[in-house]
Amino acid sequence: MDLVLMPFLEAMVRTATPLAFAALGELVAERSGVINIGLEGAIIAGCLGALVASGADSAGVGFAGAAAAGMFMTAIFAFFVVTLRTDQIITGTALTLLGLGATGTIHRLLHETGATRGLPTMASIPVPWLSEIPVIGPALFDQKLPTYALYAFVPLLAWWMQRTHAGLALRATGENPEAARAAGIATQRVRWSAILFSGLMGGLCGGTLVLAQVGSFNEGMSAGRGFIAISIVVLGRWTALGTAGAALVFGAAFALQYTFQALAWPVPYQAFLAFPYILTLVLLASLRGRAAAPAALGA
């Protein structure tokens, strides 16, 4: 059993990591009242940004490049939806297309000059003592740096959103922008910052994929994670801890494919590849209440 369960748990935490980055970014944007459907574009930009920047052969520079690329994409999004006040959904869709198209174009141009190569991925760092806990130890504490960064970041974000003045300004903007403005909150600036933050986190999601997991860039490798992240936020009821937990559920959905491959079940592998997307639909359908959503979301 351990031969099945432990790799599954390890894969669950591993695949949940990039999803959690993206979903926590989306969470902050949504709490400011902006649904960032363009997150997918920021993620794929982060993937390419990581590849290009890691030419300086340090993972840190790679992550900086990923974050910058993600923020660049969402800066365009913020300019349109906050400053010009265009439709969030259609603008976000355009940003997703822009991200997928631009990264594909740039990557093929780079590839022609022979600049693309496989990257060494980051090594796992087992935490002394903790990684020796039976069953869950290796899954939780024999992971790579981005996963550990999230362990620190999730409670920090939860505290920041609930207990600080800036967090209150964020939530007020998402619940009732007019009232927030009347109370002296610069709602446009709050939304700009929240969107840029979602781009930063989307970029880090892409960076994690490339630098910690895949080790190369493939066109369209974001594979709908931006949209899944939006579903994760719904499942997590718009809280930081809930979002992190929901990311684990989707991590499990992605991890199932490895488990079922290992078990050699007589089911087409495409069924498992499609499973996370089907799960998204099922979970969204079973969570019909939008009561927990920020009141001004999308407006």
């Binding site: 259609i90 869709t93 022609e112 087409p268 069924a271 590849l273 969204l284």
Partner: protein
């Protein structure tokens, strides 16, 4: 410059380029563009035309292979019906999820695109795989399922006629019928349409969703019957996504969808030749698509702001 010349040559440089590249690519774009325009008119954000197209292509292929021995008009008719029904059913999943469970169609249709991709990946390695079971594609459909060509020596096929007919029908229904009025009213505001107009908004939205999927499914059937004669991955180079730009550039007007489908068809055709001759990757089309959408949004916004200002100036003058 060399790239631009290649772009022009690939789209309009010869009779073959126009009839066999530009119009051939404009055909599915017209159908999926109509699908998106119709949905957006009713406020249904169907961005899953890609998945609905794939569902239509899969069903049409299955029917063409199963009914190969029947007379040609019957096979082609069955392919059209299969494509339309499969596209409508695929969209119907998202429609039901929205109506019964309040799931945002933006997310559900995108998720269904990924499910459709995996479905195609499975059928071409499973039930519909070619007889030798080597290549990940379906068997080639026989002559009875191949759609008639419109011009000797060119690739333009029956699908083009169907697409133009659908555009005319969509324009007529939207502009001239009570159904079209209901669609436009629901798109302008569901609560007003329901309370003041006495419109069953849920039913209208459902109908629009299904019709939108049907158009996209027909595009899939048309690609299989007219161009590829087989099902494989990558049968659509993202037509379902380009459709969003096609529809928005046309400002959701069925007549203009025809013009903008021609524009993007030329762009796709030109991009292919640009890649062959100048080494510019054809995915650059997606970038252009995105920039078109963003420009349309910004322009519409500026126009609205200008109109507001004009109103304020007039009000102050009173």
């Amino acid at each position: 410059m060399e790239a631009l010349i290649a772009l022009w040559d690939g789209a309009f440089g010869s009779a073959y380029a126009f009839w066999s590249a530009t119009l051939v690519r404009a055909t599915p774009l017209l159908l999926v563009g109509l699908a998106v325009a119709l949905a957006f008119r009713a406020g249904v954000l169907n961005i899953g035309a890609e998945g609905q197209l794939l569902a239509g292509a899969t069903a049409a292929t299955a029917v063409a292979l199963a009914a190969a021995s029947l007379p040609r008009p019957l096979v082609i008719g069955a392919m059209i019906i299969a494509g339309v029904v499969a596209g409508a059913l695929w969209a119907g999943i998202a429609a039901v999820l929205r109506r019964r469970f309040g799931v945002m169609e933006v997310i559900s249709t995108i998720m269904l695109n990924f499910v459709a991709l995996n479905l195609v990946s499975w059928v071409i390695r499973g039930p519909l795989q070619e007889p030798l079971r080597i290549y990940p594609q379906s068997a080639t459909i026989s002559a009875s399922g191949r759609w008639p060509l419109l011009i000797e020596g060119q690739r333009l096929h029956l699908g083009f006629i169907l697409a133009v007919a659908c555009a005319a029908a969509a324009w007529w229904v939207l502009a001239r019928t009570a159904t079209g009025f209901r669609v436009r009213a629901v798109g302008a505001g569901t609560s007003a349409a329901a309370s003041a107009g006495g419109i069953d908004t849920e039913r209208t939205i459902m109908g629009v969703f299904l019709a939108s999927g049907a158009l996209a499914g027909l595009a899939g059937a048309s690609e299989v019957g007219g161009i590829t004669w087989a099902l494989y991955e990558g049968i659509s180079p993202g037509y379902g996504y380009t459709a969003i730009a096609v529809a928005l550039l046309a400002r959701l007007d069925a007549r203009w969808v025809a013009a903008s489908a021609l524009f993007f068809g030329a762009l796709e055709a030109g991009a292919a030749s640009m890649q062959r001759r100048a080494g510019v990757p054809s995915v650059v089309v997606q970038v252009i698509v995105a920039l078109v959408v963003l420009s349309v949004l910004a322009l519409a916004r500026w126009r609205a702001v200008a109109a507001e200002r004009a109103l304020v100036v007039r009000a102050e003058g009173l």
